[in-house]
């Protein structure tokens, strides 16, 4: 979904409930910040959950960090899927399950803001209850394998293929 005010992807979904009917806003980070800061008393009283959330994230990103530090943070990349934190911030979508580990320091406060909690309570899958992290590494191995093939390093590609198959065949391990 695109931002209602520009061509960037909308990463903030705000429900305004101040008027007669709820109004949904879909905005990119820049326009969300603009919308939330210029809105004054009328919007502040909205106490919209989503608006508050977007506001918190905007603050969380801005507080106590210099532009340089922010830029550095943005460059951090996930070793498994390769997305940077900046990619996540601009799209609002993560690239692979390992991002939750790779960006743990940044995502922690965000999850707390969104959910008010930081630990899962509830259903646990019967398969891989201790985490499926090992299988997620297959994403990285596949990437490395296609790179190896492209560079004609076939010995390495074969090793990687065997490694992938070992993990894939390990089933519920």
């Amino acid at each position: 979904m695109k931002c209602q005010k520009c061509e960037k992807p909308a990463t903030f979904h705000i429900t305004e409930l101040t008027g007669g009917k709820p109004v949904e806003l879909h905005l990119c980070e820049e326009h969300a910040r603009e919308y939330l800061t210029q809105s004054g008393s009328e919007q502040a009283s909205a106490s919209s959950m989503a608006a508050a959330l977007a506001h918190q994230l905007a603050q969380q990103m801005a507080v106590g960090q210099t532009a340089e530090e922010l830029a550095q943070l943005d460059q951090q990349a996930c070793p498994v899927c390769g997305i940077t934190f900046h990619d996540f911030r601009s799209q609002g979508r993560l690239g692979c399950p390992h991002d939750y580990v790779a960006f743990e320091a940044q995502l922690g406060p965000l999850l707390l803001n969104i959910h008010g909690e930081s630990e899962h309570v509830g259903k646990i899958p019967k398969r891989c209850p201790q985490g499926s992290e090992r299988r997620t590494q297959v994403i990285r191995l596949r990437r490395e394998m296609s790179e190896a093939v492209a560079e004609e390093r076939y010995e390495r590609a074969k090793e990687l293929r065997d490694e992938i198959q070992r993990i894939e065949n390990s089933g519920a391990a």
């Binding site: 979904m1 979904h13 429900t15 409930l17 007669g20 009917k21 709820p22 949904e24 879909h26 106490s47 919209s48 959950m49 989503a50 899927c81 390769g82 997305i83 799209q91 609002g92 979508r93 993560l94 690239g95 692979c96 399950p97 939750y100 580990v101 995502l107 965000l110 999850l111 969104i114 959910h115 008010g116 909690e117 930081s118 630990e119 899962h120 309570v121 509830g122 259903k123 646990i124 899958p125 019967k126 398969r127 891989c128 209850p129 201790q130 985490g131 499926s132 992290e133 299988r135 997620t136 297959v138 994403i139 993990i167 894939e168 519920a172």
Partner: protein, 361 residues
């Protein structure tokens, strides 16, 4: 092949429109969806075409070869035409995002349309169970079983501390969205609906329109759902919604009683005029139809209209949507022609139901 099966769907009434579940005069449907991802593939935004194809294949096999799930209709959404995709959105079987995105993606639908499994939506799998009336516990029982069956064949991304891992951090943990669709015309008429919304926000519940995120509250339909997914069990998330809905139902009933007592003539007039327009109009927009059907629906519930059944009205809300009209009439129509066809369809259905004088139009 998909199109023929879709034409059959167009003629049938989804289970959730039956209108006979608990509190069905106000609660249209109860819905639960679970978001899941395969552990060994990137999330959709980073998936290559090859990844998407492999995810689709793995999940197709898991869903279709699962014992205990009735024979599902499996549709390749990428291959469907625009009208067919819109038709599935109108029936709440796929999301708008799923209809409008690109690349390998699919949906599996069970014969009575209570269960749908979207593959390659925002997450690799989105399982949805939707039933008529106010009945979240049985929806949970059903979806939990389906989730178990799919999970017995694939490995979902799961983190011991964070739970089920999803493409958007707003869904992490249980990956569960619980929602109840309510028809609240009297709260709208008496201008109390804002007050209800404000109290819901305070307890972290979200309010959306008929077609979910980004849709307006057409026909006075509102969906109430949980906002958070992490740190509360599935049972607790369901309980939060289950506990609040009876209060909203009570407010709506009080508002209806107030209208009956304080302005019976006005109310009866409003309902009758709405019914009259729907039975006689020659061209009518989708918005006006929703608006008038809402009044008629309340009129039937209050006994002001006696020759019409709730399931018929529920069905008209969906069948008069743009893609449904085109599926039912069998031709593609532009907006002006749709408005004419919609009016014709309404006259035919309502005059047939009422057993009134056959329309000559």
């Amino acid at each position: 092949m998909g199109t023929v099966e879709l034409d059959d769907l167009a003629r049938q009434r989804g289970e959730w429109l039956r209108g006979n579940g608990p509190e069905a005069d106000i609660v249209i449907s109860s819905r639960i969806r679970l978001a899941r991802n395969l552990a060994d593939f990137p999330f959709i935004s980073r998936a290559t075409e090859q990844d998407r194809a492999r995810i689709e294949k793995a999940l197709r096999e898991a869903v279709l070869e699962t014992d205990g799930v009735p024979k599902m209709l499996y549709l390749d959404v990428e291959q469907l035409g625009t009208v067919d995709r819109q038709f599935l959105v109108e029936r709440h079987l796929i999301s708008r995002e799923h209809a409008e995105s690109q690349g390998a993606r699919a949906v599996a639908i069970d014969p009575d349309e209570t269960l749908s499994v979207m593959i390659n939506e925002e997450d690799h799998v989105r399982i949805q169970v939707m039933q008529s009336g106010f009945d979240l516990p049985s929806a949970w029982e059903r979806i939990n079983r389906v989730d178990d069956l799919i999970e017995s064949q694939v490995t979902f991304a799961f983190h011991p501390r964070l739970g089920y891992l999803t493409a958007c951090p707003t869904n992490v943990g249980t990956g569960m969205r619980v929602s109840v669709m309510l028809h609240l015309p009297a709260l709208v008429l008496t201008r109390q609906i804002d007050k209800v919304f404000r109290s819901l926000q305070k307890i972290s519940l979200a309010v959306r329109g008929l077609y979910g995120e980004g849709s307006q509250a057409m026909g006075d339909f509102y969906q109430i759902s949980n906002q958070v997914t992490l740190g509360k069990s599935e049972e607790k998330l369901i309980k939060d919604v289950v506990d609040i809905v009876p209060q909203i139902i009570k407010y709506e009933r009080t508002a209806r009683e107030f209208l009956v007592k304080e302005s019976q003539e006005n109310l009866h007039d409003r309902v009758s005029r709405a019914y009259g327009i729907l039975r006689t109009a020659q061209t009518i927009s989708s918005e006006e139809t929703m608006h008038l059907l809402s009044s008629v629906r309340m009129g039937v519930n209050l006994g002001l209209i006696e020759d019409l059944q709730i399931p018929t009205i529920n069905e008209l809300f969906i069948h008069t949507q743009p893609a449904h009209l085109q599926k039912i009439s069998g031709v593609e129509l532009d907006t002006a022609d749709r408005n004419i066809e919609r009016a014709r369809y309404l006259r035919r259905q309502l005059n047939k139901e009422a057993g009134g004088p056959a329309s000559k139009n």
